[in-house]
C-alpha cells in the first residue's frame, strides 16, 4: 500500500489506472495495471518471506527520469527487526488497531509530502531496492545494485510505526530546489 501510494501521489502512473480501496481505515489508491500488479505481487511476496526470516534492513523506492536516468526522488524505509522473535515466541501485546493507526498516520504523511516535494514534470520510472543481510542468496530475478543516491538533495523524515517485531522508519530525499 505504501508503494502504491507513492506511485499514485507522485504521478509515476496515470491516476486513472488506480482504484480506491478501504484499508487501515483510509481510502487508499491501488493500481489496476496488471503488469505493475504482477510485478508488485512478486516483489512483495519475496519481501514478506525475507521479513519473516529477519533478513531485511531497508526498502528503497527510487524514482528516476526515464530520459536522463537521473535519480529524482528516493523513499527509504529502514526496518529494525527484533531477531529474538521466533515462531515459538509469545505473541506481542500490541493490537492490530494500534498498528493500523500508526500505518494510517504514515500513509497520510506520504500524501502530505505532495504539497512541497518538487514537481516531477518528466516521465519517470521506479526501482525497488531491498537491503538484506550480506550472505543472502539473491533470487534469480533480482540483481545487485548500488544505493542510487541523489546528487544535491534535501530530505525529510516521516513518522515511524512499529509492530513491536518490526519498526519502520521512513524518509524521503529529493533534489534541492534553488529558486524561490
Amino acid at each position: 500500500y505504501g508503494i502504491n501510494s507513492i506511485l499514485y501521489q507522485r504521478g509515476i502512473y496515470p491516476p486513472e489506472s488506480f482504484t480506491r480501496v478501504q484499508k487501515y481505515g483510509l481510502t487508499m489508491l491501488v493500481t489496476t495495471d496488471p503488469t505493475l500488479n504482477n510485478y508488485l505481487k512478486n516483489v512483495v511476496g519475496q519481501l514478506k518471506d525475507w521479513l519473516c526470516n529477519h533478513f531485511v534492513q531497508r526498502l528503497v523506492v527510487v524514482i528516476n527520469s526515464i530520459e536522463t536516468n537521473e535519480v529524482l526522488e528516493r523513499w527509504q524505509f529502514d526496518i529494525e527487526c527484533d531477531k529474538t522473535m521466533t515462531d515459538n515466541s509469545q505473541p506481542r501485546e500490541k493490537s492490530e488497531k494500534a498498528i493500523q493507526d500508526e500505518i494510517r498516520s504514515v500513509i497520510r504523511q506520504i500524501t502530505a509530502t505532495v504539497t512541497f516535494l518538487p514537481l516531477l514534470d518528466t516521465a519517470c520510472s521506479f526501482d525497488l531496492l531491498v537491503y538484506t543481510d550480506k550472505d543472502l542468496e539473491v533470487p534469480e530475478k533480482w540483481e545487485e545494485s548500488g544505493p542510487q543516491f541523489i546528487n544535491n538533495s534535501e530530505e525529510v523524515r516521516l513518522r515511524s510505526f512499529t509492530t513491536t517485531i518490526h519498526k519502520v522508519n521512513s524518509m524521503v530525499a529529493y533534489k534541492k530546489i534553488d529558486s524561490f
Binding site: 491516476p15 486513472e16 480506491r20 481505515g25 483510509l26 481510502t27 489508491l29 494500534a98 493507526d101 500508526e102 494510517r104 498516520s105 497520510r108 504523511q109 500524501t111 502530505a112 509530502t113 505532495v114 504539497t115 512541497f116 525529510v156 513518522r159 530546489i177 529558486s179 524561490f180
Partner: protein
Amino acid sequence: MADEGSRESSSDREGDELPVLFPGLVSADSCCRLVCELLKHVLYQRQQLPLPYQQLAFFSRTDSGLADSSTLPHSRRNEQNNCKKFQRVLSELNEIFQNLEAMFMLTLVPCVHILLGGSIVNPKEMYEINMERIVFGSTEESLKTVSCIRKLFHTLFVKDIFNELKSIPLMNTVLLVQGHRDCGVQWFRPKLNYRIPNRTRKLVINLACDTVNFTSTEQPTSYNHDDYIWFQAPITIKGFH
C-alpha cells in the same frame, strides 16, 4: 473581549504556533492560495475528507457518469449517495475558494480562522492563519505562489502538527475571515459578535516576510484593528468518509 484600540491576539493563549518566514514579498493572490490550500490540507489531515481535495475532484469527474439511482442495486445506490455527498462538498469548497479570491481582491485580510467541530463560540479545533506580518507586493515583484506554498507545507510537515493517531469523528467546518468593515463584500457575512475562542485546541500559523533586506517602504501593513471586522462564510463544510 478586545481592549479598545488593540487587537486581542489569539496567540497570547495556549496553543501551537508555527512561524513561516518568506524570503521576499508575497502577493495577495499568493496569500489567498495559501489559505485555500491550508483549508484543503486541514480537512484531509483531520479526517473530514477521505482523500485530498485534488484527488476527490479527479474522482468526482470520473464517477459523475453513475446511472440514475432508482435503477441501481442497494450497494451501488450507496456508492452513488457517497458520490453525491462528495460532489456537494466539492461544489461548496469551490464556492468558498472563489469567494475567498474575491475577498482578497476587495480588502487586505490580516487573519483567517478555520473552526472545526463544536460551535463557533466553542469549536473543538481552531486554525488561525495570521498574515499581519506579510509585506505585500505585486505579482511581478513577489515570490512565486508555488514557492510560497512549498515553503508553508514543508514547514508544516517538519513540525509534524497532524500527528494524532486516533480516529477523529466527522465535524462541521466553519471559515471566518477578517476584512475591512467597508470592503463591500456580499457573500461573506459580518460576524460582529465573534469572539476568538479561548478554550479550544489551537494552531496559529504566522505567515511573515523576512524584512531584513527590505527598504523602509517595504514593511508589513499597519492595521487599524478598529477598521477590521470578522466575516463568516455562509457555508458550513460537513465532513464525510
